[in-house]
């Protein structure tokens, strides 16, 4: 948990940060296959041919090939950082995706105000939401100054750390469609139709990590002393299956017609005009031109 304050102009809002996401991937330990004891990673110096304790290590920055400058903890602490313990809002931008590089996100955090800052927190949240704005800010997390976007999120705000522009690789070296490609109106209309037919509301709850669930069930079975059930191998689909599906569908359509005809015959006993209705529903006997 990180504790600090949102700052902009003369406003200071004390807040806490909580990670908004968590990793649910299953972690494994490395064991010695013979005895099943955990393997220890020793720090080894090839020059002295010796194992070195962590306390005997220093931070080195490789400024040219094989040449290092050593940075002590004291020197690291002395680096001037304006944004220590602060979420310093630099500017407000329209909360459109194109307005900033928010697609290159690192990590999301929920904000919780200290009681004394609750009113200012809520005010800022409401104004950002009503005006459709995003606050672009800087924050120091884990000894690093980070670029971040602050957005209203339900009853709280979400701080999303972003990559700095020089961390984002250029896409210009990719082999991308160029202006030389011409698209016919009919092709565009067909593509639009395809996209429209598959357009829906994204609901994250509809998606789940099936691999993790399958892996966990194997682990649980082993813990319980059971033999894990091997994954069912999907039989390759065959063209015969498709023909069988077609035949089943034709049989269902035939049955539906039979039922409709039987109902219609039942109605005929009480409805004098049902003959006409039946005639209207009869399939066409002649081919019609397009």
């Amino acid at each position: 948990m990180w504790r600090g304050a949102i700052q902009f102009g003369l406003v200071t809002i004390p807040v806490k940060l909580y990670l908004a996401t968590e990793s649910t991937s299953i972690g494994f330990n490395m064991l010695h296959a013979d005895c099943l004891n955990r393997i220890q990673m020793k720090i080894y110096c090839p020059h002295h041919d010796a194992v070195v304790p962590r306390s005997d290590t220093v931070r080195g920055y490789e400024w040219s090939k094989g040449r290092y400058v050593v940075m002590t903890d004291a020197e690291m602490d002395a680096v001037p950082l304006k944004t220590v313990r602060a979420i310093e809002i630099e500017m407000f931008v329209d909360a459109k995706r194109e307005a900033h590089e928010a697609q290159f996100v690192k990590q999301a955090y929920y904000l919780e105000p200290d009681p004394m800052g609750a009113k200012a927190f809520e005010l800022l949240r409401q104004v950002l939401a009503d005006q459709g704005k995003t606050a672009i800010c800087k924050i120091v997390l884990k000894d690093r100054e980070q670029l971040a976007a602050l957005n209203p999120f339900d009853t709280t705000m979400l701080l999303t750390t972003l990559h700095w522009p020089d961390e984002v690789r250029s896409h210009t070296e990719l082999n991308l469609p160029t202006a030389g490609i011409t698209v016919k109106p009919a092709e565009r209309a067909m593509a639009e139709q395809l996209i429209a037919s598959m357009t829906g509301e994204f609901s994250p709850a509809d998606y789940r990590d099936d691999y993790r669930a399958a892996l966990m069930s194997v682990i649980e079975a082993k813990v319980g002393g059971e033999e894990p059930v091997p994954a069912q191998r999907v039989e390759p689909t065959k063209i015969g299956d498709l023909m069988a599906a077609l035949e089943a569908s034709v049989a269902a359509a035939r049955e539906a017609r039979r039922s409709a005809a039987a109902e219609s015959a039942g109605d005929a006993a009480v409805t004098p005009s049902s003959d006409t209705a039946d005639a209207d529903q009869r399939p066409a006997r002649r081919r019609r031109s397009a």
Binding site: E187, T237, K238, L242, L246, V250, A253, P283, R287, R288
Partner: protein, 203 residues
């Protein structure tokens, strides 16, 4: 032979109705155990569909030419137009290819195009043994509207109708081969519209 578009499904005892699967039309020539596929706009179809190389082994006669539809089936066994497009565009080999034969042009080194369609079709069914990758399509005589209802429920949007007494014609088919659009049932989880036929493929 190029099909004639008609307004919609119909019933006629002179016609054999089949699904217009969302695939691409392909002429399959098999000679001395070697398959050659002709697909519009694709120079090297055999390389794109290497799994079909065993098709000649399903044929009872050599020097045979079939007219049919090339499909890519997804993991659920449904024809998937998107996967087919990826294959045709050379973007890997997703899915599982399948060939549905509808007509026979040559058999045993001889042209059978002058025979009536019902003769060619009966012949086709005797020489192509159904397998996992290739089969003769299911045909329904007379019942066009019934088949259309069944296809709509499967999300297929086209119906093929071949005149039983017609010879194989080069160029426009006239009444010999018709294509009728079907409105698939809602909701459609995946559009299986015959995009393949309407969007440019290899160019």
């Amino acid at each position: 032979m190029q099909p004639t578009e008609v307004a919609g499904p119909f019933d006629d005892q002179d016609y054999l109705f089949e699904a217009w699967w969302p695939g691409t039309r392909a002429i399959a020539s098999c000679e001395r155990g070697v398959l050659r596929l002709q697909v519009a706009g694709l120079a090297d179809a055999e390389a794109a569909f290497p799994e079909l190389a065993t098709l000649p082994s399903q044929l009872a006669e050599d020097a045979t030419m079939l007219d049919g539809t090339l499909l890519i089936l997804d993991a659920d066994g449904r024809p998937d137009a998107d996967l087919l497009r990826q294959r045709l565009a050379g973007l890997g080999r997703p899915g599982r290819p399948a060939y549905v034969a509808s007509d026979l042009l040559w058999a045993g080194g001889q042209s059978v195009r002058l025979n009536a369609f019902h003769v060619r079709r009966a012949w086709l069914e005797t020489i192509l043994e159904p397998g996992d990758r290739a089969t003769v399509g299911r045909g329904y005589r007379g019942d066009g509207t019934l088949l259309a209802e069944a296809l709509a429920s499967l999300g297929v949007d086209g119906l093929s109708a071949r005149q039983l007494g017609a010879r194989y014609r080069s160029g426009p088919a006239g009444d010999a081969w018709l294509r009728a659009p079907i409105t698939p049932a809602e909701p459609r989880s995946r559009p299986t519209l015959a995009l393949i036929l309407r969007l440019p493929l290899g160019d």
